[in-house]
């Protein structure tokens, strides 16, 4: 290698190094500085994925029509409920949050990001309701009316994996509660849950994946939220749904964070207003304001129960869904051992 070419090499290497360092520094700086100015005219919305359409096509435009909501911009983030909650806990900026499960708000209360008093309002922190329903093939060919029917008829059922999908825990509690209300003991009710899970050839990771699997032909019935069933029908999917006489009322919580701008609080107030609740109803959700529930669209199940009956989500999460000691973990274990091969 001649002297001059060696010098050239040296110069090139120096140049490349400087370039690399500069580029690297720029990347780090670019990623680090988050351009999230705390302007009062913005609502940073972080929510679970299901109500995305409701927000983007119904609620947010309607809020912009009100005097408080004029000129308010939204930055929206949608994803799996637990992931969204963990992201906010880890620092994702959020003003208004809406999750599928109360425990996802509790996580933020524990982190000091949401006020302890978030449930001290007219609707106890719940912004919408739904019920656990049974989605069937068109015309309900199996004539399913209750969770017990799924067991009696030995149908293949699709329900999400209760460990990967926090929202799927409503399904389990609906089955459990309905069995209790039939007069079964807690052990017998767990046996019903076990029986239904044993008839599940697939336990998709999320409620949306479950709907996808069902539409793709898996299972005779799908256990899902009423609002998911309505959304599927609105999207043109050929499915019907049945609301069992005995089922659980799904309560979907919302809150503002402690340092949220006034716009976020205004937005939440709007969601609770009659105008806001009517839009929720148009989007497939049951209003929390009972006087606005249209019984022809949203008939109240004869025997509707809530999670409070079983001690609330904090207790239920421990008793039923602890990944090692919870009764559902036990059930999956028994099922796994009996069929492992």
């Amino acid at each position: 290698m001649s002297l001059s070419s060696s010098r050239n090499t040296r110069r090139t290497v120096q140049g490349l190094l400087i370039l690399a360092l500069v580029a690297f520094g720029a990347i780090v700086a670019g990623c680090g500085s988050d351009a999230s100015g705390e302007s009062g005219g913005k609502v940073q919305l972080v929510a679970y994925s299901t109500p995305q359409t409701a927000y983007e096509e119904g609620l947010e435009p309607a809020f912009n029509q009100t005097t408080e909501g004029e000129d308010i911009d939204f930055s929206n983030s949608f994803g799996a409920s637990g992931d969204q909650s963990r992201a906010v806990e880890a620092g994702q900026p959020a003003g208004y949050v809406n999750f599928a499960l109360e425990t996802d708000v509790t996580r933020l209360v524990d982190a000091g990001l949401v006020s302890k008093d978030w449930q001290k309002n007219r609707y106890k922190g719940i912004v919408t309701n739904s019920v656990v329903s049974i989605v069937t093939r068109p015309g309900n060919p199996e004539g399913v009316k209750s969770f017990q029917d799924i067991i009696d008829k030995g149908l293949d059922v699709v329900t999400p994996n209760p460990f990967t999908s926090g929202g799927a825990r409503w399904n389990i509690m609906a089955i459990y509660g309905a069995a209790i209300h039939e007069g079964k003991t807690p052990d017998q009710a767990l046996e019903s849950v076990k029986q239904i899970l044993s008839q599940a050839p697939v336990q998709p990771a999320s409620a949306r994946d479950a709907l996808q699997a069902f539409i793709g032909g898996a299972g005779d019935v799908l256990i899902s939220y009423e609002n998911e069933a309505i959304a599927a029908q609105n999207a043109g999917e050929d499915v019907d749904y049945v609301i069992p006489d005995s089922t659980i009322l799904i309560e979907q919580p919302a809150a503002v964070t402690v340092d949220a701008p006034k716009s976020a609080t205004d937005f939440l107030d709007f969601l609770w207003s009659d105008a806001g609740q009517k839009i929720w109803a148009e989007q497939g959700y049951r209003p929390v304001n009972k006087s606005l529930v249209d019984p022809s669209v949203y008939p109240t199940p004869k025997d509707e129960f809530t999670i409070a009956e079983f001690g609330g989500w904090d207790k239920v999460a421990d008793e039923f869904f602890d990944d090692q000691t919870g009764s559902v973990a036990e059930i999956e274990k028994e099922l796994g051992v009996s069929t492992e091969g």
Partner: protein, 272 residues
């Protein structure tokens, strides 16, 4: 993958060499080493006993077993089929070869969740092929085969291209048969590539999530793979558990890498 001792060739002079090393170490630390160390630290943050309890709980064992066995089957198939594909692409000529050659890399480009969705329409209950493989362990293997296809092919191809064909002619003129030429001359030369491809494919298969999540069924103890189990741990706020199972996957990968290194050493010795 065989990292040999630096020999003759371009060497950076003193100051630049130090700077380059510094840059490389900083970069590797930020991108790989610190995150991996953080995962390991997290996994052991509750003590070794807790770590052991987590990875030996039956659901974790079932998921790890399923993942490891399926991944092994997948890399074995890859080792054979990948080499065969590379062979055809290098040694044979046929119309559309360039297209086939570029198709090999497409599984890399496709978001894995789309792969999962596509496989679901092909092998799901509404399959127009009439193959109902979705939600079975077989589906796990199919999905993994799809996403790991390029590794062995791309590792073997350059070796085949640079393989000195005179060796084969010489062997032939000395009376060696086709099988003998393949097993004594070609295969030993390809072995490092196959091994490297297998190691990468194995690591990828162990950690795969997106391609499996829709099609594997996710039924605990039956069709729940390790990555989906880890997803469940995270959803249950068991971050330590998630990290612990991830560490086991990392150890599996490292074992495979060590094994591959052995094979490569054996291959190099064979070279002389």
């Amino acid at each position: 993958m065989a990292v040999s001792r630096p020999r003759a060739g371009l060497r950076l002079p003193g100051a630049e060499a130090a700077m380059t090393k510094g840059l490389v170490v900083t970069y590797l630390s930020l991108i790989v080493l610190i995150p991996l160390a953080a995962i390991a630290a997290k996994a052991f943050s509750a003590g070794p006993a807790e770590f052991w309890d987590t990875i030996t709980q039956p659901q974790a064992i079932a998921a790890l077993k399923l993942t490891a066995i399926c991944s092994l089957i997948v890399v074995l198939i890859n080792a054979v089929m990948g080499t065969l594909i590379a062979w055809v692409l290098v040694r044979d000529d046929f119309p559309g070869k360039a297209i086939v050659n570029s198709v090999i890399d497409l599984p890399f480009a496709l978001p894995t969740i789309v792969a999962s969705l596509t496989l679901l329409t092909l092998y799901g209950n509404d399959s127009f092929l009439g193959i109902h493989a979705a939600y079975t362990r077989f589906a796990v293997i199919i999905a993994l085969l799809f996403v790991t296809l390029p590794f062995v092919v791309r590792a073997v191809q350059p070796l085949l291209l640079s393989l000195d064909r005179d060796m084969e002619s010489a062997a032939e003129s000395l009376g060696a048969g086709k099988v003998r030429i393949f097993t004594r001359i070609i295969l030993p030369n390809l072995l490092p590539g196959i091994a490297a491809g297998v190691a990468l494919a194995f690591a990828r298969a162990l950690g795969e999530f997106g391609a499996l999540v829709l099609i594997s069924g996710n039924v605990p103890y039956k069709t729940e793979v390790a990555s989906v189990f880890i997803r469940g741990q995270i959803e249950s706020d068991q971050v330590v558990g998630a990290a612990a199972v991830s560490v086991v996957l990392l150890v599996f990968s490292m074992c495979m890498l060590a094994f591959v290194n052995l094979i490569q050493k054996w291959g190099l010795r064979h070279d002389r």
